[in-house]
């Protein structure tokens, strides 16, 4: 999976004459299927009736998909958990941690004004954001990957997020690590508020990109 994303990023970064945004978006959102993935059915009505904050989590790299319910808030981050203990921790719209999708993203540290965390509107994003990804390795100290991400605002459109239409603005992030590896994220922000409805983010060198669709937003 990561090879696909890296390759796509590298090729397209070097190809100035291409329709960069559209092709990169397609590469991120429609990766070559390395593993077959069964997407669970979602009963949106039941979730909304129970007033649950919920997300649909998709990991194309490992072929795992699950629906997570918000079960806990820790340090302002929301922990979504599925029946088989797979889950993500969201810091605003940033995937802060993952569990049960392969190699587990332990944490992401970022700058205080990270627009994904503050859920800023697309036009208010700073030119670049630096994030550090923490992944377990041998011993007690996590491996760290620091990446600088530059963003590009795309079109406004209406997308279907788990059977609900959302008017969104798409934002593409092109990221490069200090080691020279590259990856891309793409986010679909609410056109009016900047909250994330759909995001596809890098979660580590093995696990690759994961997609999170917000079925029902967390409301404190």
């Amino acid at each position: 999976m990561i090879k696909v994303v890296f390759s796509a990023g590298l090729i397209l970064a070097l190809s100035g004459c291409l329709d960069t945004f559209g092709q990169m978006r397609d590469a991120i959102m429609n990766p070559d299927p390395e593993v077959e993935m069964v997407i669970p059915g979602v009963n949106r009505a039941a979730i909304e009736q129970a007033d649950l904050a919920a997300v649909l989590m998709l990991s194309p790299g490992t072929g795992i998909a699950a629906v997570g319910i918000a079960i806990q808030m820790r340090d302002g981050r929301i922990i979504y958990n599925a029946n088989d203990n797979r889950g993500v921790t969201l810091d605003g719209g940033l995937i802060y941690a993952t569990l049960g999708f392969g190699t587990n993203l332990q944490a992401v540290t970022t700058q205080s004004n990270d627009p994904l965390v503050t859920e800023a509107k697309a036009g208010d994003w700073p030119a670049e954001v630096t994030r550090t990804y923490h992944v377990s390795q041998r011993g007690t100290v996590f491996a760290q990957f620091t990446a600088v991400c530059r963003n590009q605002v795309g079109r406004q459109l209406v997308i279907d997020v788990v059977d609900a239409n959302r008017r969104v603005v798409e934002v593409l992030e092109t990221c490069a690590t200090q080691e020279g590896d590259t990856f891309n994220n793409i986010h679909y922000l609410d056109a009016a508020t900047g909250r994330v409805w759909r995001t596809n983010q890098w979660t580590g060198p093995v696990q690759g990109n994961m997609q999170v669709d917000v079925i029902d937003q967390f409301a404190p």
Binding site: I64, R74, D84, N85, G87, A107, G139, V141, F142
Partner: protein, 658 residues
């Protein structure tokens, strides 16, 4: 009756002798083009196994890379020469002195056949440059890279010979390796100034193809009329082909804060039932549970997960959610089967501070301490009376003999194993073997039994009793582990054996002492003995060193031939259960060059869909000579206790929250 998971143990025992002869080929497990060396360009923990076949030469080689800049090779070549053959045992090093830069080449220095000046030995200096998918190397070579007969290059008569290194007139060498990008084909071409039967210079070419992930087959040819095939298995235990933790996520952790103290608190039985139920989903069994005062004491084990730190983390996660608010300490006892080896003590408040933090594993480690398990503990929930049981299994074993063979002669043995276990500490076990493949040259029994060199005198082609012994393990103090064994330990010896190991769970080393008295077993029949006995007394130091899973075992004492000998094993444990080690030994009675062995243990989860913590073992070298040899099959305790080493658990602590 229970039957253990069927597993395959593959063992290649290669007996070696000093090499002499006229041709030198292959380079001892280091990076190579065809026959010439190439730059050491791998990464730390790369592992390769080479099998070379050509008309007049065969070799099995291991390549290990302990760091990015160092390659180590252990090779067992066999050379045909006229009507016979000779074999070698080479230890080789490739050292990357200078990393390749944008405009500057990398520099590599190599020594093949270190410690020996025989036909396989040689040295080289290489400059290498990578351009896209092409790597080119040029350099100078000595010994085997400069002469067609590279023997007796020095006068040094010591066990480790060094005065021949980089001595004599060098010859140039050059090679180019191209990853074609087409169906994983790699092409190589090379030049060497060494002459041969057909020409004054040697040119070679090869083409290799990856038939399975990690397994390559290469064909090669030289202008000297040599053609051959090479199989290369390459892997890196830190970069597994498969992910090991995607079956299920861990239970959510719940901090012990706020209003929990004011809520109704569950009782001991209730907590035990919930803990057991939730951990069963993770294949973790609770074998003892006690809730006393502010502490919960759990004995936990997993038959599937080789990373004990992850088992401890999953226990802590569930306890965090269900333990009463007044519980401040989780104690997780590690059980090896016969022993409660460690108590991992977790401070609950420390875990509360750690969970979700960017340095969560380091903080959790800070909240962890180790204790020895008490000799006696009060009765607790979950304890069950042990039921004696019978189990059995089958093990095929392949061995190759490099001493007596003109070709790579093999024996294949099918072992039927059975065990009756009286208690967790005591069992009797036996093994009956049958040699279904026998290419060894059978020798008549010698006039005087020998410690090891008479191993081809034991009767083939009939079912034989490999072993039949009883073993009892016990602790005499919280930190002293003991064993007594009696019976027929192996094909060649039977007798009595005792062992003690001292280990403090907080320390990264242990000390052991084994005393054994044995009688030589008869060459024919199941229960007879020859008129020869021996006693051994061997002390051992087991130490975990560094922070990469590295360890060493140092053995010293009286061995089977009555000789004083020292054995050294160095290796690396990986957090996913792999273990790679190399060994050598010295005996006061032996004046030949040092010999080397290697062992690789790969978890069955990599080779079997049934997974589990068992391992597939591949070993080369080992005991073949009469000196520096000890009795096997007595049941050394460290084999059982090694997974309890504090450093091993620390190595896996990155998985604590997984």
């Amino acid at each position: 009756m229970t039957r253990p998971t069927f597993g395959m143990a593959l063992t290649a025992l290669l007996s070696t002798s000093v090499a002499t002869g006229v041709m030198a080929e292959g380079i001892g497990g280091l990076s190579q083009a065809v026959d010439t060396p190439r730059a050491a360009s791998g990464i730390a923990d790369d592992l390769t196994i080479h099998l070379d076949f050509r008309e007049d030469y065969r070799a099995l080689s291991f390549g290990l890379q302990p760091s990015d800049w160092l390659e180590i090779g252990i090779s067992f070549p066999t050379y045909d020469e006229g009507g016979g053959s000779s074999s070698g045992n080479e230890l080789s090093f490739g050292l990357r002195l200078w990393e390749e830069r944008s405009y500057l080449p990398g520099l590599t220095v190599g020594v093949v056949g270190f410690g020996s000046d025989d036909r396989g030995s040689g040295e080289y200096v290489l400059a290498s440059k990578t351009m896209g998918s092409v790597q080119a190397s040029v350099g100078l070579g000595w010994g085997r890279y400069a002469q067609d007969i590279a023997v007796d290059r020095g006068d040094d008569e010591s066990i480790v010979r060094t005065d021949h290194l980089f001595v004599g007139d060098p010859e140039p060498l050059a090679n180019i390796v191209w990853d074609t990008g087409y169906k994983s084909l790699i092409a190589a071409a090379e030049y060497s100034g060494v002459g041969g039967a057909e020409a004054d210079d040697t040119f070679g070419a090869s083409l290799s193809y990856e038939v399975l992930e990690g397994l390559r087959v290469a064909g090669f040819v030289t202008n000297q009329g040599s053609v051959g095939v090479r199989l290369v298995f390459a892997a890196n235990p830190t970069r597994p082909f498969v992910q090991t933790d995607i079956n299920r996520g861990p239970h959510p952790y719940v901090e012990n804060r706020g209003l929990r103290a004011g809520q109704p608190q569950p009782g001991e039985q209730q907590v035990f039932a919930l803990l057991k139920e939730r951990l069963e989903e993770d294949d973790i069994q609770i074998r003892r549970f006690a809730m006393r005062g502010d502490t919960i004491d759990v004995t936990a084990a997993s038959n599937m997960d080789p990373v004990f730190a992850r088992v401890v983390g999953r226990v802590a996660r569930v306890l965090s959610a269900i333990a009463p608010a007044n519980i401040t300490t989780f104690r997780v006892t590690q059980n090896t089967g016969a022993f409660d080896s460690n108590v991992v003590v977790l401070d609950r408040a420390g875990l509360d501070d750690a969970v979700g933090a960017p340095d969560a594993a380091a903080l959790a480690w800070d909240a962890t301490s180790f204790e020895a398990s008490p000799l006696n503990r009060p009765a607790a929930l979950g304890e069950s009376t042990f039921q004696p049981r019978f189990s059995y299994g089958f093990t095929p074993v392949l061995k190759a003999d490099f001493i007596t063979s003109d070709t790579l002669e093999l024996t294949g043995t099918f072992n039927a194993n059975a065990r009756y276990t009286f208690s967790p500490q005591t069992f009797v076990s036996g093994s009956v073997g049958y040699r279904f493949l026998n290419q060894w040259t059978q020798e008549d029994p010698p006039a005087e039994p020998q410690p090891r060199s008479d191993f081809t005198s034991y009767a083939p082609d009939i079912a034989y009793l490999q072993s039949l012994s009883v073993r009892h393990r016990f602790r005499v103090a919280p930190e002293i582990y003991s064993r007594v064994s009696a019976g027929l330990f192996e094909r060649a010896y039977g007798g009595v054996s005792g062992e003690m190991i001292w280990r403090d769970p907080e320390q990264n080393f242990a000390l052991g002492l084994e005393a054994t008295y044995v009688q030589k077993r008869a060459y024919e029949g199941w229960f007879g003995f020859e008129d020869a006995d021996a006693s051994t007394l061997i002390g051992s130091l087991y130490a975990n060193v560094g922070r990469n899973g590295d360890y060493l075992v140092l053995d010293a004492g009286q061995h089977l031939a009555g000789d004083f000998a020292v054995g050294l094993t160095v290796g690396r444990n990986y957090r996913n259960g792999w273990r790679i080690s190399a060994s050598t030994g010295w005996s006061e009675e032996r004046d030949s060059a040092l010999k080397f062995g290697a062992e690789i243990a790969i978890p069955l989860s990599w080779t079997s869909p049934d997974a589990g913590k068992g391992t597939t073992n591949l070993s080369v070298g080992g005991q073949s000579g009469d000196f520096g040899s000890r009795v096997s099959g007595t049941g050394l305790l460290y084999d059982e206790l090694r997974t309890s080493d504090k450093r091993r658990i620390e190595d896996g602590f990155g998985e604590f929250w997984n």
